[in-house]
């Protein structure tokens, strides 16, 4: 079969390129917006999804991973006693103030976990080792947030909440985009940071000209002078944030959740999937980011449709006499529509492929900046579906025009 569709498209290369640019733009926009949304919501649940836990026990009032009330260390022990629980490990989350050597302040999220445990995985450790976090005042941060923390490498130091801190390891894929930088360390280290009070100094100076008063709040003593009290083991009354549970093999998680809730009053038990869903939904809905990115994607689809239908319509209009000739020669409607649809499919494919290349490029470039643009095979397939649907819909619009072609036009000069 001779492909009239393809030949007609390539007949006018500049117009074809404009069309392809339009579709490419639309597909890129949709993919990137979806990628950002997925990357964003993925990042909020990275720590949950990376964990080996089956169930998360948290305070009953828990909103999401980072927003909850404390449990007690004693409850970890209680959880271990529950029938069907193979292992229970505490996780401590808390806010702290990071102060660089230059005196710059930055909020940080302290994450304390059982270093010897197996249930919590703080991303991929790319420099240093997990065990180094057992050392007093040693933490791990995500590669993407080192700039924000104004540190570069292992061994760099700063202060957290008036206590010294040394970077002992660097992780990847551990950081939530919406959260302050995570500092991972042992339960004991984090507990120490969270329990240390900090002093606040207010230094004010008059600006030249005497107009403004410039004030700096200093929460800490200078790092060199920091006291380093010995790290104490956690007591049963120390607060923790979540309990990660590994079930015995073959346990029904629904009934195990019920047993845990019964054994630990005031708590709620979620499976890891439920915990992740709660957290990502919270961020998508509460922040409106889902709507904003969704709008962006919708704009992409609309722009793409307008461009494709415009080009297809123009192409069909230009070739109206040819379609009439085809009809006169006895071409079936199916064959004629086939030409238009094939044309729109070619446009879809030729716009989609470069768009994906661009998106993969943008995504890997963004990754170096610590921004996750998550382009999953699902997104790839979905966007292809959207582009094809959009092109065929535009093709159907153009077909309206062909349907009304009177084959008798062939004899009109």
């Amino acid at each position: 079969m001779v492909s009239i569709a393809r030949k007609n498209l390539l007949e006018d290369i500049p117009r074809f390129l404009v069309a392809q640019a339009g579709i490419m733009f639309a597909a890129t926009l949709v993919t990137i917006q979806t990628g950002i949304l997925n990357g964003f919501s993925r990042s909020t649940v990275l720590l949950i999804e990376n964990s080996q836990a089956d169930i998360w026990v948290s305070a009953a009032k828990m909103e999401h991973f980072e927003e909850t009330e404390p449990l007690l260390m004693a409850q970890v022990e209680q959880a271990t006693q529950v029938k069907g629980v193979k292992q229970a490990e505490p996780l401590i989350l808390g806010l702290g103030k990071w102060q660089t050597k230059m005196g710059k302040l930055n909020s940080v999220r302290l994450v304390g976990f059982a270093i010897e445990g197996e249930l919590f995985q703080p991303g991929n450790i790319v420099k240093g080792e997990r065990t180094v976090l057992k050392k007093p005042y040693t933490v791990m941060a995500d590669e993407s947030r080192l700039t924000e923390l104004m540190i570069k490498n292992i061994g760099d130091t700063a202060a957290v909440t008036s206590l010294p801190v040394t970077l002992g390891a660097i992780a990847q894929n551990s950081q939530s985009i919406v959260a302050p930088p995570f500092l991972f360390s042992s339960l004991e280290n984090v507990n120490t940071y969270l329990n240390s009070g900090f002093t606040v100094e207010l230094n004010c100076t008059m600006e030249e000209g005497g107009e403004n008063l410039n004030c700096t709040k200093v929460y800490l003593k200078t790092p060199e002078k920091l006291a380093t009290p010995p790290i104490k083991p956690l007591s049963l009354t120390d607060p923790i944030t979540h309990i990660l549970i590994k079930a015995e093999p073959g346990q029904d998680l629904t009934t195990l959740k019920q047993r845990l809730a019964a054994a630990l009053p005031g708590t709620v038990a979620n499976t890891t999937a439920e915990m992740a869903a709660k957290t990502s939904t919270y961020w998508k809905d509460r922040t409106g980011l889902g709507i904003i990115l969704g709008l962006g994607a919708a704009v992409g689809i609309i722009v793409g449709m307008v461009v494709v239908s415009q080009i297809l319509y123009a192409s069909v209009s230009d070739h109206l006499k040819e379609f009439g000739t085809l009809k006169a020669m006895g071409a079936s409607d199916l064959m004629i529509y086939g030409v238009v649809i094939e044309q729109s499919l070619w446009m879809a494919v030729m716009g989609y492929l470069p768009a994906m290349l661009i998106c993969l490029g943008v995504s890997s470039w963004a990754a170096t900046k610590g921004i996750i643009i998550l382009i999953t095979p699902g997104t790839g397939v979905g966007v292809f579906g959207i582009v094809v649907t959009m092109s065929i819909a535009s093709g159907l619009l153009a077909i309206q025009k062909v349907t009304h072609v009177d084959p008798a036009i062939v004899f009109k000069a």
Binding site: I4, N8, M329, A408
Partner: protein
């Protein structure tokens, strides 16, 4: 009378390719009515080359469109190859044209994006001849019109006469029994016009196809078996009958 007798005969014995009986065409636009054709009766024997002549605006194009099943008359009926086409559905008509009619147009109507060979191939594709067979047949048809070495050229690089020869090759694709040509030489200089007429004549006679040619061109008269004159939408008694 003769017409009715013929049309009632069984198909296999049909010797008439095109029959029209009482055909009329009225164009209606808003408030105006225009009688483009009135009371057309004709019968064209199989294998004939039939010319349709007449002044501009006399209704030639309208008549050939109707006879080719591209336009439905407002009165009368038409038999092509013994089949009543006036009562056919749009789909049936399309199918009938596909298998029985080849077209040649004044403006060639070639597909500019396709090569000469592909233009012929598309017509074969429509008739269900595809793949290698379609390509070979297209090449043979081009050879038949003397363009065996022009298959890869785009229409824009061919002369008017060559384009019309491609169009004839395309019209002959699938070996239709009827060939309808509206002013096939009008866009050509007299020399290429002459050549086109000769090719059309030769190939049609060889294949036994019936050819209806609308023309102003007096030179075509030589190849015609008979001539119909149209004036103001009515057929006129013959003024001139060519040899035979």
């Amino acid at each position: 009378m003769l017409i009715q007798q013929l049309s009632s005969k069984p198909k296999s014995n049909i010797t008439t390719a095109i029959t029209a009986h009482g055909v009329g065409m009225v164009f209606k636009s808003d408030s105006q009515k225009f009688q483009a054709l009135a009371d057309i009766n004709l019968s064209i024997p199989k294998g004939d080359i039939q010319l349709l002549m007449g002044p501009s605006g006399s209704g030639k194009t309208t008549l050939i469109s109707i006879l080719a099943g591209l336009m439905t008359p407002t009165a009368g009926n038409i038999q092509l190859l013994g089949e009543e086409i006036t009562s056919m559905s749009r789909k049936q008509l399309t199918q009938f044209r596909r298998h029985n009619i080849g077209f040649v147009f004044q403006g060639f109507n070639l597909f500019p994006a396709l090569t000469a060979a592909e233009n012929v191939e598309v017509s074969l594709n429509i008739k269900g001849i595809g793949g290698r067979k379609g390509k070979n047949e297209a090449q043979m048809l081009l050879a038949a019109v003397g363009l065996e070495d022009k298959g890869k050229m785009l229409p824009k690089n061919l002369s008017g006469g060559q384009k019309q020869r491609v169009a004839i090759a395309r019209a002959l694709a699938g070996d239709p029994q009827l060939i309808m040509a509206d002013e096939p030489t009008a866009a050509l200089d007299s020399q290429s016009g002459q050549a086109i007429v000769e090719i059309l004549h030769q190939l049609a006679k060889k294949r036994g196809a019936t050819v209806l040619i609308v023309t102003h061109d007096p030179r075509i008269v030589n190849v015609a078996d008979s001539i119909l004159y149209l004036e103001d939408g009515r057929l006129q008694p013959p003024k001139f009958t060519p040899t035979g």
